[in-house]
């Protein structure tokens, strides 16, 4: 009898240790991958921002220059121009959100053929980005179908790709068009998660449709809004392929984003400056996301 009582806790402890070991074993590959391919480069890149590294010699040989690289980048008006250009493209996020909520609500009515519509809206999302870019370049040509369409209304040909203001517009339009499908599906899922009882209660209280939407539905979609905005900003700040292939970062650098600016430095062997740009971008995204998480946390507590 004595032996039994003594054995039990030991067995549990051994079992716990065993559990822990297996747990760690299961996540080991992921851990190794993250450590080697993400964390190590992360710190490597941080170190490179404090040196003047041109990539032609090993990082260890490059001279350490303190904050000089930061000074160079942050005092370059072209850097801030790229920053501004990148922020401008974020306008697409709210535009996309408004359009997708509207469409999701229509799809949520459960009418016939909803399934087909869902697929149709998602097709641009899965299409290859390079194919889409080539397509839009051809379409936005001054002799292209979009201008033809506008001509039907007597509108003069717009130089979508050659004029700075219109170029930004075209870029944002293309991004919204491509991303609509994902947001629609997310909102659809969110809408279906809203229990009808809330809407019923509001109706009984005498609210009309708009009030129901604004005071019940919209707020209850909070998590979805949150997800879309956070991922939208993280992705939007890193915009590269679209402005580069569609417009070459132009015209007159109107669509030169931070990443385009980064690659320019990289190609000129100013690797450290490129790393600084990446870090500034990363810190900015981190702060914005942290703020969002915080406000979201506060809101959920209320």
């Amino acid at each position: 009898m004595n032996t039994n009582i003594v054995e039990k806790p030991k067995k549990r402890k051994v079992k716990h240790v065993q559990e822990n070991i297996i747990g760690y074993l299961f996540i080991l590959p992921v851990f190794i991958g993250i450590a080697f391919f993400i964390v190590y480069p992360f710190f490597y890149s941080l170190v490179s921002t404090f040196k003047n590294w041109n990539g032609l010699v090993p990082l260890s040989v490059a001279p350490t220059v303190g904050f000089e690289m930061y000074r160079r980048v942050l005092s370059d008006s072209l850097f801030w121009q790229a920053f501004g250009n990148t922020l401008i493209t974020l306008i697409g996020i709210p535009i996309g959100m408004i359009l997708s909520i509207a469409i999701a609500m229509l799809l949520n009515r459960g009418l016939k053929f909803t399934g087909i519509f869902r697929v149709i809206f998602y097709i641009p999302v899965v299409s290859s980005i390079t194919a889409i870019i080539i397509l839009w370049r051809a379409m936005m040509n001054t002799q292209g179908p979009i201008n033809d369409f506008l001509a039907l209304f007597g509108v003069k040909a717009i130089n979508f790709l050659g004029e700075p203001g219109w170029a930004r517009f075209s870029l944002i339009m293309m991004l919204v068009w491509k991303g609509l499908g994902t947001s629609i599906l997310l909102y659809l899922a969110g809408l279906q998660g809203i229990s009808d009882t809330y809407k019923e209660a509001a109706k009984i209280d005498g609210a009309n449709d708009w009030q129901i939407f604004w005071h019940v539905t919209f707020p209850l979609l909070g998590p979805t809004h949150f997800f879309i905005v956070v991922t939208g900003i993280i992705g939007g700040m890193q915009l590269y392929v679209e402005p580069e292939l569609l417009l070459g970062g132009g015209p007159s650098r109107a669509t030169t984003t931070l990443l385009i600016y980064l690659f320019e430095r990289f190609g000129a062997h100013r690797i450290s400056e490129a790393s600084v740009v990446a870090w500034v971008l990363g810190v900015f995204v981190f702060i914005i996301t942290a703020i969002q998480f915080y406000t979201n946390y506060r809101r959920e507590k209320a």
């Binding site: 297996i22 993250i34 992360f42 998660g193």
Partner: protein, 284 residues
């Protein structure tokens, strides 16, 4: 009494009909906006030269454009490379991610919550920050220009997928795992025999989404492996190959060719993909 009821019913019906029709109108309009560019692309890909591309829709049916594309750019090579990257990455990466998700969800090992949150934080690191050092790491390993930089990191799992799978697994009762343990199964057996089949719906959607993401990726393949181009890189090359007098008709044909594999897979799995958005429980 009855009369007013009937009247009320009729006006409610009319109101519903009106809103139904307007819903359809808007949805159809929206669909047209979504599809119109793609339809134009199809029409343009069949034109005889880059000048008639801007002519009326579907006036010419020059299918030889597609053959021409295969002759001009290395489509087969791109296709093959894309497959070589996608298949091993998904097969191994999904398995690894599944194991990890199971560990986080069911094996309550020490610090598992903290580690999970740290992992999510890592996911937020923008690619540009690590891209440049990754290049030099790959270069030391002699992997630049090959497809290895695209494949190997993915074999170690996909954080986003781990996140979604873990969420899915939390909906599966712990009792299932407990009873299996009592029956003497170790965790690996539990994972392989019990959990994996249960994960099927979530896995289907996640793997297809991951596949589409890998397939359409341009940045990493262009940066690390330009010498072994994947399909988007091959297509992207068309943009700079003919800066003046672009052969738009051929470009359109090439784009369509590159989109077909993904659209096919999407068409087959679209139910699973779209349902997964609901399953993942965005309502949290």
């Amino acid at each position: 009494m009855k009369k007013s009821n009937i009247k009320a019913n009729r006006s409610i019906k009319r109101a519903k009909l009106f809103s139904d029709i307007s819903t359809y109108v808007i949805l159809v309009l929206g669909s047209v906006l979504m599809l119109a560019p793609l339809i134009w692309m199809l029409s343009a890909s069949l034109k005889v030269n880059q000048f008639s591309v801007y002519g009326p829709l579907f006036h010419e049916w020059n299918f030889s454009n597609y053959i021409e594309v295969f002759k001009t750019i290395p489509v087969w090579k791109g296709l093959l490379n894309s497959v070589i990257v996608a298949v091993p990455s998904i097969i191994v990466g999904t398995f690894v991610s599944g194991l990890a998700a199971y560990a986080f969800a069911k094996i309550k090992f020490k610090f598992c919550n903290i580690i999970f949150i740290l992992m999510l934080a890592v996911m937020m690191i923008p690619f540009p920050v690590i891209m440049i050092p990754q290049y030099y790491i790959f270069s030391d390993l002699d992997w630049i220009g090959t497809l290895l930089p695209l494949i190997i990191p993915k074999l170690f799992g996909n954080i986003m997928m781990i996140f979604f799978l873990r969420q899915f697994l939390t909906h599966i009762p712990d009792a299932l795992v407990e009873s299996a343990k009592i029956d003497g199964a170790n965790h690996f057996q539990i994972f392989w025999i019990i959990i994996l089949p249960l994960l099927k719906p979530a896995l289907a959607a996640q793997t297809v989404l991951w596949f589409i993401g890998i397939w359409n990726d341009y940045l990493a393949p262009n940066f690390f492996s330009a010498a072994s181009p994947t399909l988007p890189v091959v297509i992207g090359g068309l943009v700079s190959d003919f800066p003046i007098q672009e052969p738009v008709h051929l470009n359109m044909a090439a784009s369509i060719i590159s989109m077909i594999p993904v659209l096919a897979i999407f068409a087959i799995f679209q139910k699973q993909i779209i349902n997964s958005f609901v399953l993942s429980g965005m309502k949290e």
